[in-house]
Amino acid sequence: MTQGIWPAVLGRFDWQALPFVRAWNNPTASEIIGAGAALIVIISAIFVVVLISRLGKWRYLWSEWLTSLDHKKIGIMYIVLAFVMLSRALIEAVLMRMQQAAAINNPGFIAPDHFSQLFSTHGSIMIFFMAMPFLTGLINYVMPLQIGSRDVAFPLLNSISLWLTGGAAGLMMISLVIGAFSTGGWSGYPPYTELAFSPGVGTDYWILAVTLGSIGSTLTGLNFAVTIYKMRCPGMNLMRMPLFVWTALCTSVLMIFAMPPLTVATALLALDRYLGFHFFTNDLGGNMMNYANLFWLFGHPEVYILILPAFGVYSEVVSTFSTKKLYGYTSLVLATAAIAVLSFTVWVHHFFTMGQSADINAVFGIVTIAIGVPTGVKIYDWIWTMFLGEVRFTVPMLYSLAFMMTFVLGGLTGIILAFPPLDYLVHNTLFLVAHFHNMLIPGLLFGMLAGYHYWFPKAFGFRLNEKWGRIAFGCWVFGFYLAFMPLYVLGAAGMARRTQAVFEPAFLPWLYIAGVGALVLFCALASLFVQLWVSIRERDANRVFAGDPWDGRGLEWSTSAPPPEYNYAVIPRVQGLDPFYDGKRNDDSYAPPSSYDDIELPKNSMTGPVLGVVAAVTAFGLVWHMWWLAAIGVLASIATVITRSFVRDVHQIIRADEIERTERRWLSAVAAAKPIPREVEMTSANQGLAEV
């Protein structure tokens, strides 16, 4: 394939790009694992296609889901994507832990290059394709309901964001099957990721996947912020918004201003690699410090983009399951806003050791420590919310409690790292790895899982299985401590992060414990899937159609579960912070409105799926230097946008009589349901109507 037209058509593709060929030529364990992973991707894809075809669900999938502009469905699709990507990245983590446990004075079973790909994909996926889609999905589903709106401000843009993220995630999956991924870590530091040191396709996969994802996130942030500013229902002024909406707003503002630096960083790196520019190269005036600054100008606010929505979930969960008004609402709002602002002022703490003066380090160290203060305020507020409340230990509440304990621990190690002199000692060691997992697992994953358990009955109309929920919870928490506490010890003892082989026998017991922890975490993930399976099987016993399984407080609980497409037949009017909680105690929550009106909703559009696929194809063409494909992709994207701008038939009307039927069906179910006291909310007696 080196002669004639083939190089122009196939770019730099050759048979060695396929992991199967590599494994055939060089059948080591490492290559076979690579080929196995590729095979899993292919088989899963075929399985899904066959399954959908056998069930005859293509049309349903296309018209009810993929092209839908309904914020609820888009939210669910984001979360499905997050779970798929979580599975892959967690398996990669297990592989890395196994390798390190096996590689003490021993090459282990994963080759260095393959190991580097594992930590690069693990990090990139967990941040960009697990955490971001999860929180975006949760906000997408919940926030418009909580502010009493029928959709987000820009439903089509919402679908486009989803599909750009989906296209980027698809690119990550393709990189398993064709070619190889970056070996430069999730932060992709040049000059290592420059052409001179990483000439392969891996870095290009990383650049393009991350860039597409970050553009999707910028647009999402824009969409959410405008929705929250402009589409709140009457009476809901800013200081009556549920705390989850406040955190969604702050996260959105961070997305708007913090994602562009990432786009700039990756775009300039791409210019270096594709056109021979000299931004971050070693020669001709390049300066990699610019990259470090640009990347962490995104990277630090990103931490709070990830954590703030989880804080919002905890605020909702703790208040609901303590049967108490949220303590210190105003201080929580101020703390959230303060964190959002401060998050832009601490980025240098990610590279204390990279040569700036001690004075600069001191300033950034102090600001870093200061950012712990508003976070501490929040922890106290949640504790005071529980104080003298009737705390119910449901699964979301368990996650919240585990979060409070674990997150404080991570915060304390963060204070250690914020001191530049101490940071010099543990920089680039497993101590750092332990620290940020200690922040992000409780501060993001537990929050997302708490939100998933809390709002699942709202989204699907039945509760998740409690027993398996508790098993999964136990595995996550126990597995977390087993897997990451040893890393603090190892890091303090000087074990560098991202090491493929270890030459210090004293590390062995700790690596073994961490390895067992990784396996427990794998069981936690498996338990979540078992829980989903069991819950779907016994869904009829656990239906909560009336819509309020937890004696909820916000507007989202005042509709049926699942809510109708239009969310609210009549836009609600609110008078306080917990409108539904107060409303049902005043007997005015389930009163039918005097009349119904037609409702206008956005019509489905294939613009999102088309743009997502075209963007992924363009990126693929760029990765493999198939210039014709990239050119076609760019032109097709422009053509799609222009064509869409000429479409005028973009709305559908839901007729008043249909709405009346839907609402009457729900209201009669509410009337027939038996109100339950909180003691039995975890049993089948819970039909979604709370005793007041």
Partner: protein
């Protein structure tokens, strides 16, 4: 809600078209937010340029490459195009005959394309001088910044064409009006960015 309430910064349709004015609130605010996000991109490209300015590595320098006269003419052309787009917006707001709106948009388009042509000519001159982006970090950052602005002008021009076709196809329905409001913001934003480029890049380069 009274129609004269200001829904968003920039030219409002409140007095002439109450219905569209009501719709424009979140639609135009969304575009403002997008522009602010875009402004972050430009800000970082400016910062990168500032940091890389000394990185000429023995190659061309700002003083040797910038010519004030053509760049000043480019500036005049772009500023004029902002004025003509303003005239188009006013024509739309007050329901002037359609060909007046199209005329002003057409003039803006011609000026935008003229700007791009002059900019490309400047680039060609620099290339003739061996001032390629691959020559030094300084030139990389110069071309990244100025070309990003140029690409914005290119897509703005494409957008003007699309909107002219839409005005002819749909007349001035609410979506066309709102999109012309957004296009106006975009066009004026590019003008502001260019003023910053003219001052920070060209003028500073010449006085160094």
């Amino acid at each position: 809600m009274s129609s004269s309430e200001v829904k968003h910064p920039a030219l409002n349709l409140c007095d002439s078209d109450e219905l569209t004015h009501g719709l424009a609130g979140s639609e135009v605010l969304g575009f403002w937010v997008f522009l602010m996000s875009d402004a972050v991109i430009f800000a970082l490209l400016f910062a990168t340029y500032g940091v890389m300015l000394p990185a000429t590595v023995g190659g061309p320098t700002p003083a040797s490459e910038y010519n004030i006269l053509p760049v000043f003419l480019e500036t005049l052309v772009l500023l004029t195009s902002s004025f003509t787009f303003g005239m188009a917006s006013v024509a739309m707001k007050h329901g002037a005959p359609r060909r007046q709106l199209l005329g002003w948009m057409g003039v803006t388009l011609v000026l935008g394309l003229a700007f791009l042509g002059m900019e490309l000519h400047e680039f060609a001159t620099m290339f003739g001088d061996n001032a390629y982006p691959t020559r030094s970090g300084y030139l990389s950052s110069f071309f990244a910044l100025v070309t990003t602005h140029g690409l914005h002008v290119f897509f703005g021009s494409l957008w003007i064409i699309v909107m002219m076709v839409q005005v002819m196809t749909f007349g001035l329905d609410a979506r066309v009006k709102i999109n012309i409001l957004r296009l106006g913001l975009f066009w004026h934003f590019l003008d502001i960015v260019w003023i910053a480029i003219f001052s920070v890049v060209y003028l500073q380069g010449l006085i160094r």
